[in-house]
């Protein structure tokens, strides 16, 4: 179990991995996540389930290489297994008919957005997807998202593909155009800063905005409190109370500062790993 069946590099440093995990696939719903350890020395990394196939008994994960553990994860080959794979964890997305939904996906956030968008699409809602990336080469799954969206807007920071600019620009326009208030809810998933500004953008319109928080975790089962966040003045645990929360009530500065607690150590462990890796491959 937890054997890698397929993998591919979707964009520089962004990998898609299909894993054999029948028990998890059987229970997985949009919004759920798993905790993964590449090897015995690795960290416990939370990753949102980007897709699942109950018949094949597989789940799909999309991850971006940011540190030693994610780098190790990306280097596992087809046929190898994760050291540990735990899930499905967290509360699933509340997918209820909302009329029109706007799905905002920033960067690697395109992956967790996909199953949620698909669920709304299959429910018969009108789905408007806004997908953003820094540049063209970092865009992925545009076809998949297009297939579950009635309207699909792409932005890049540098204008190398789609509209030039940030996702918040089309988001504001879509909300302004929505005079008959058909938009029941907005989902924003991506880097914390992007989610923060999406929530700021939607707030004046009073549209419910759901975000999926990427806190640092250890167990993922509510046992350590490392993933705590402040939502509306209340301390909650991302892993069991979330990962989805009301974006208008999240204390973003706290989330961002807690994501950076180990900034220096992460750089150090990545460097050590790279040196070791190069050492091994130089010989």
């Amino acid at each position: 179990m937890a054997r890698i069946l397929a993998k591919s590099e979707l964009a520089p440093k962004i990998h898609e991995i299909v894993v054999e995990a029948p028990r998890i696939a059987r229970k997985a719903l949009p919004g759920h996540f798993v905790v993964v350890m590449p090897d015995e020395h690795g960290e416990r990394i939370p990753l949102t389930i980007a897709d699942f196939d109950r018949h094949q008994g597989t789940i799909t994960l999309v991850m971006m290489v940011v540190g030693a553990s994610t780098l190790k994860l990306s280097r596992l080959e087809v046929g190898q297994s994760f050291y540990a794979l735990i899930g499905p964890l967290g509360k699933p997305s509340e997918v209820e008919a909302a009329g029109t939904v706007v799905m905002v996906a920033g960067g690697v956030g395109a992956a967790p957005v996909y199953p949620i968008a698909r669920a709304f699409y299959e429910l018969g809602d009108r789905v408007i997807t806004i997908q953003g990336a820094r540049s063209r080469e970092l865009l992925f799954w545009t076809d998949r998202l297009a297939a579950v969206s009635h309207r699909h807007i792409i932005t890049t920071d540098d204008g190398s593909f789609g509209r030039k600019g940030l996702v918040t620009d089309p988001l504001r326009e879509v909300l302004e155009e929505d005079r008959d208030k058909a938009i029941g809810c907005v989902y924003a998933i991506g880097p914390a800063v992007m989610m923060k500004f999406c929530a700021r953008t939607t707030e004046p319109f009073g549209v419910k905005t759901v975000v999926s928080l990427n806190s640092i975790m250890v167990d993922g089962t509510g046992m350590c409190g490392g993933c705590r966040v402040d939502v509306g003045g209340q301390t909650l645990f991302t892993c069991v109370d979330g990962p989805e929360f009301d974006g208008h009530r999240v204390d973003w500065d706290l989330l961002i500062s807690r994501q950076n607690i180990y900034h220096e150590q992460e750089a150090c462990s990545l460097e050590k790993y790279l040196q070791q890796f190069q050492g091994e491959h130089a010989t």
Binding site: H41, A84, G87, T221, G226, N260
Partner: protein, 493 residues
Amino acid sequence: MKEADQPQGKKKKKVIKHRVAMPEQDPEVRIRNFDEVPLGYTPEQAQAEARRCLQCKKPKCIDGCPVAVDIPGFVDLVAEGKFVEAARRIKQTNCLPAICGRVCPQETQCEAQCILGKKHDPAAIGRLERFAADYEREQGLVELPPKAPPTGKKVAVVGSGPAGLTVAGDLILLGHDVTIFEAFHKPGGVLMYGIPEFRLPKRIVEEEVDYLRRLGVRIELNQVIGKSITLDELFDEEGFDAVFIGVGAGLPRFMNVPGENLGGVYSASEYLTRANLMKAFAFPDYDTPIVCGRHVCVIGGGNVAMDAARTARRLGAEEVTILYRRSRQEMPARAEEIHHAEEEGIVFRLLCSPIEYTGDERGMVRQVRCQQMELGPPDESGRRRPVPIPGATFTLDTDLVIVAIGSGANPLLTQQAPGIKLNRWGYIAADQRGRTSRRAVWAGGDIVTGSATVILAMGAGKTAARDIHHYLSNPDAPWVEEPSAQEVASSET
């Protein structure tokens, strides 16, 4: 002299006042490593200590032991040099002696009852237990006991802490097919992720688990019951006939004071999990990082607080301060742990409690403001309640805070198991036999009692195992016991 005080045998035994000292790592050395602090007795030391035992005719020590180990019996075997036999004698009632010998609070259990202890040092029962178990294991003389023929019944054990391990160990010998489901990637519960290496080497826990595996217990790691598999599915899809829940008290408590979410403020369970289970002390060889503070504050006065403080010391802290809101007498930590912490230079600030944390521009904790307390009248626990002294506060500089004020019941499993009644604190309600309100489901350990001890969790496991076996032999008997006439009478008055 009462009869129980009378030593056995014809001639009166010469009383040796002081116990044989246990060799320990020097504090200056051990604060730089994670190796075990007490080094254990040599065979000669163990025999000398065992000979101090008065071999009372009516031994009180056994009453002090939650699982009623035959203490005089095994101590006598140690005195005679029959170390392996001694270990086997203990194992008749306690399947984890190497662990209990290290972490049980003997000073409030068996050793508190020891007659020698009235005037002198009580017999060092815990150290002898540890010695016997270590001897058997290190000499490679651990034998697999005979198993009853297969019964064809399947038992699921949820959680691999001491409660779950005990249930599994007892039921596998009775011929049942036992599978342990554990949420973490390593089995052992708090023994693995909570209690640090320098107090309980993980190798010992691993060997105990390995022993169960050799007996035929299956262990499925990375399975969160309630998430990966629900309780219903254990019965309906996985075909289990009985389920034991021993998931521990895995919900960290915080104080809800301002600034508690700053970086560098940990729950004890996160701090210890990072350090022990994820081996952050060996960072970057292991990938999991941990904040290594220079001025560390630990909030609380229990074993967990001592473990956190001593771990922080070993991770390079210059100064570690324990902030406890009551006085020394009320501190729940074991005397030995407090003593070891003091030897390692941990500072105790009693009668104070944090009221606010402040941080720097990066959101990392930098200071803690504390309220000074005094002791008021006793509270419901019988301990004198700490009350704030108006206007008396002080501030300490700190860059790492560990909140060790206890834990509660984690609702992850019970939320998915509506048939199981909880008490008003969210723990599972279980009867004397460990039965829950749901048929064929037992619970025991910290998830029933709240945070307690290894030996009590094991005791609960033993009781439940006996009843599970009984139930599996007569599955049609009523699940809930008829209240006895006596109980009915007393509830009427």
